[in-house]
Amino acid sequence: MHSLSSRIVLALALTILSAPGGRAATFLVNTTADGDDGACSASPAGCTLHEAIEASVAASGRDTITFDPAVFPLGAPGVIALATSLPVLADPAGTVVDGAGAGVIVQPGGGLGLIVDGLVFASGSDAALANIRVANVTVRDFAGTAIVICGGDYPACAGDVTKPVVENVFVNDTGMAGVRIRGRDVTKARLTNVVASFNVQGGILLTASGALVGTRIDGCTARQVGLQNGESGILLTSPVAITSTTITSSIGVGNGGPAVRIRSEGALSKVKLTKVVATKNVASGIVITAVGAASDITLVDVVSVDNETDGVALFGDSVTGTTVKGLVANRNGSDGLRITSFATLTGAKITNVRALGNEGAGIEIPVGDVSGVQVSRIVVSRNEGIGLRLRGSGHVLKRVRADSNGAGIHLDAPGSGNVIEQCTAHANDGPPGGAGIRIASGNTGNVIRKNAAQLNDGLNLEDGNANCDGNVWSDNFAVTNAACLD
């Protein structure tokens, strides 16, 4: 009797789970084979991944595909070698593919080139795609992309994507990208502990044809990806706007493009990178670009070393509220930190930055109408170019150590009302001029006090204005060539 009632309860539960109009169902893959008899059953080897996908697409609701640990043991993963491409997981309500507790590898069976993409999620005809979750699987060796999350029809991907989650996933050795999330507006994507390695055309790519909002990336690694097309380890792009992005504890090593590239053809706001490491990339380490306005960009404890171009490069039409704190940018092929505004740059805070041995400048803010930059507790040394170079007005440079560069600290014109104090600029010895602290002609009304500048090849203190017009030099420890320089 007890057994009968248990069976009834179980049958009811299964009915509810698998009912066509009901809530989410769970389909358990229990074979590594790749056949398809049209049914995903609980009998031994009765449900292939193909069959589970077909069943989940057929069922309404946000279904879950899991894997039998007896067939896919954790630690000695079961390999699903596909004979044909998997069906598109075309369910607007979303689908969960989760290998938690199991060891799952999905790969082509016939070698690279026969099957294009691995797991493809889409929602069909411009419908929005929501709540995709891919977790705890390895997807590898595909000619195309390992995991595709596509709003609307694949491959057009013209629909929105909301709340996709990719977690604890290893995607490697693909002919294109590791993970690609693509749609019109892409909102609240979460990528955690994703490893993308040896993917020919990029690691983790989020591309929106609308806005890209609320992306969070944590603990991800992109290693030696994008070597064919110079693509990035982690890429976020939008032609409209990118807002509220955080990237933490993530790494890009030896990629064809930057470790992290964020590019908005429109506005870019509230972007924060914390503890990101970029090294040996065949480009700049980190590139953040807004063709429109860039606001509230924050970098904390970023390390970018040995990249072929800049360590960190920020571009924007108007740039406001930038904070760079604790950056280490060493031995890059161009500048350590470069911030370029095509119109205005205001209110940046640059603190505790170390930029050493770069082939360009240590820190450079070269163009635009630049104002209100606070630079403090900086060490720029052994850079072939200028240690710290910026232009504009209302800057405060305090405790900058610019020693042994091509030149020390340069304020370019136009500009006015800047303060340089408690800085050092010693033993700078290369072109252009090897000056210690230099104020260009046309930058006036500045206060330069309590600095030390000695042993430079060029002038220790240099004012391009005749008689230091309007600049106040006081209490500096330096050998000088003009009385107005003190």
Binding site: K280, S381, S404, A427, A452, F477, A483
Partner: protein, 476 residues
């Protein structure tokens, strides 16, 4: 004695007058005592001597001022006339032959404050050389606000007793706002027991040896702050003991060594903070004792392009109370290295990139116990973290794109939790010991994600880890 009765306001006035009188008497006594300090003002760029340092224009050369200060008792001051050495717009220098020894045990002050002073020393062994008679301590030497260039030997040499032994005590040296360019040796402070030597706000460039503060017996309370050594390094040494040494806010580039604090026997309370080293053939920052170190602290250090270690604490007989925090070390031997038996250390907030080993506590003779290692990013090294010892706790260690990730060996009993090992060319987390607990970690994309030397995992506990490949079924 009859008490003088005055209104209260008058009493206060009287007290003040009395105190003022005492002060005047005290100041007068200072001026009247020939043993007290005198000031000699250099007012000539020449290097001649007529045996007198006079106030007449051109009447006092640096040589004459030194001779006069040595002849006079007390801690004299040599200053520079701003009319001759103007503080602005002046590029002249004093070209000297070998200067007299500044041999005054009471100490001497040479201060270019308010002036622009450059001493061009030429091909001589020592430029500004301070000594005391054998068996007598040298007190309170101060050199400030001047530049010394073109020295074949040592630019500023402070020596307790006679050179070359320099084995008498030295106390209270201050070198402040001094620039040295092109010297064999930049600034040297040597003695038997050297206490409270300070080098502040200075720079040494193009020298073979940058800054040396050394006690042939002990070094106490040394401090180097706000100073750059460019093409040379900072070496702080106490032969038998190094006590309370601090190097803060300093830069060292292009030398055999970066910043070393060393004793052949014991280091006690050595602190290195807010420093940067670059392109050092040896290590970036080292705190070294052939005996023991106690209280070695390295915080906020960046070491780049070093031959040996980015940061090392080396106590051959042991290390106690080591703290290493906020270190960034890239492209060298070991990013962070610990040598010697060590108990109870703390390593936190480290980013280590492109080294042989990111974190290396594995050299022969090294065993690390009860140590906390947390918030570490170790990337593109041969080994991300290699720890030999036991009962250590690793938390939030992220080892990525190394040849191998986190490797634990030794006595066991370690805990690794909430850490990540990603895309390493060998094992992600590997155990070569027993009794460890490995839980709640993520290891993906490694050749083997989790590895245990024992096929049965021995007494290791693996639980709640996210991984794909393991060396044994017992790994969970």
């Amino acid at each position: 004695m009859q008490r003088l009765l005055l209104p209260s306001g008058h009493r206060r006035l009287a007290r003040r007058s009395y105190a003022g009188l005492l002060l005047l008497l005290f100041l007068a006594s200072l001026g009247a005592d020939p043993a007290r300090a005198a000031t000699f003002t250099v007012n000539s760029l020449l290097d001649t001597t007529d045996g007198a340092c006079g106030p007449a224009p051109g009447g006092c050369t640096l040589r004459e001022a030194i001779e006069a200060s040595v002849a006079a008792q007390g801690r004299d001051t040599i200053a520079f006339d701003p009319a001759v050495f103007p503080s602005a717009g002046f590029t002249g220098s004093i070209a000297v032959n070998t200067l007299p020894l500044i041999a005054d045990p009471a100490g001497t002050i040479i201060d270019g404050k308010g002036a622009t002073v450059t001493i061009n020393c030429g091909a001589f062994a020592r430029c500004l050389a301070f000594e005391s008679p054998a068996g007598v301590a040298l007190e309170k030497v101060t050199v400030a606000n001047l530049t010394v260039v073109n020295v074949t030997g040592t630019a500023i040499d402070v020596c307790g007793g006679g050179a070359p032994a320099c084995d008498d005590d030295v106390r209270g040296v201050l070198i402040e706002n001094v620039a040295v360019g092109g010297a064999q040796s930049g600034i040297s402070v040597r003695g038997g027991v050297v206490s409270k030597a300070r080098i502040v706000g200075s720079v040494v460039s193009n020298s073979t040896s940058g800054i040396f503060i050394g006690g042939s017996r002990e070094l106490r309370g040394a401090r180097v702050e706000g100073t750059s050594t460019l093409g040379s390094g900072i070496y702080v040494f106490g032969n038998e003991r190094l006590v309370d040494a601090t190097v803060a806010d300093c830069l060292s580039t292009g030398d055999s060594r970066g910043i070393f604090l060393q004793s052949t026997l014991a280091v006690s309370t050595a602190k290195v903070t807010d420093v940067v080293t670059f392109e050092t053939a040896d290590s970036g920052v080292r705190i070294v004792a052939d005996g023991t170190t106690t209280g070695a602290t390295i915080t906020n250090a960046v070491a780049s392009a070093f031959g040996e270690n980015g940061v090392q604490v080396y106590g051959e007989a042991g290390n106690r109370a080591v703290t290493v925090r906020g270190v960034r070390a890239d492209r060298g031997g070991d990013g962070v290295n610990l040598f010697g038996p060590t108990d109870g250390a703390t390593f936190r907030d480290l980013i280590l990139v492109g080294n042989v080993n990111g974190l290396d506590f594995s050299e022969p003779g090294t065993s690390v116990t009860h140590t906390k290692i947390s918030d570490v990013l170790s990337v593109d090294n041969e080994r991300g973290a290699f720890v030999i010892g036991g009962s250590n706790k690793l938390k939030n260690v992220f080892a990525a794109a190394n040849d191998s990730g986190i490797v634990l060996s030794g006595a066991g009993g370690d805990v690794v939790e909430k850490s990540r090992a990603m895309a390493n060319g060998g094992p992600g987390i590997a155990l070569e010991s027993n009794g460890n607990v490995i839980r709640k970690n993520v290891a993906l994309g490694n050749i083997v994600d989790l590895s245990d030397d024992s096929p049965t995992c021995g007494t290791n506990i693996w639980q709640k880890n996210v991984f794909r490949t393991g060396s044994a079924p017992c790994i969970r």
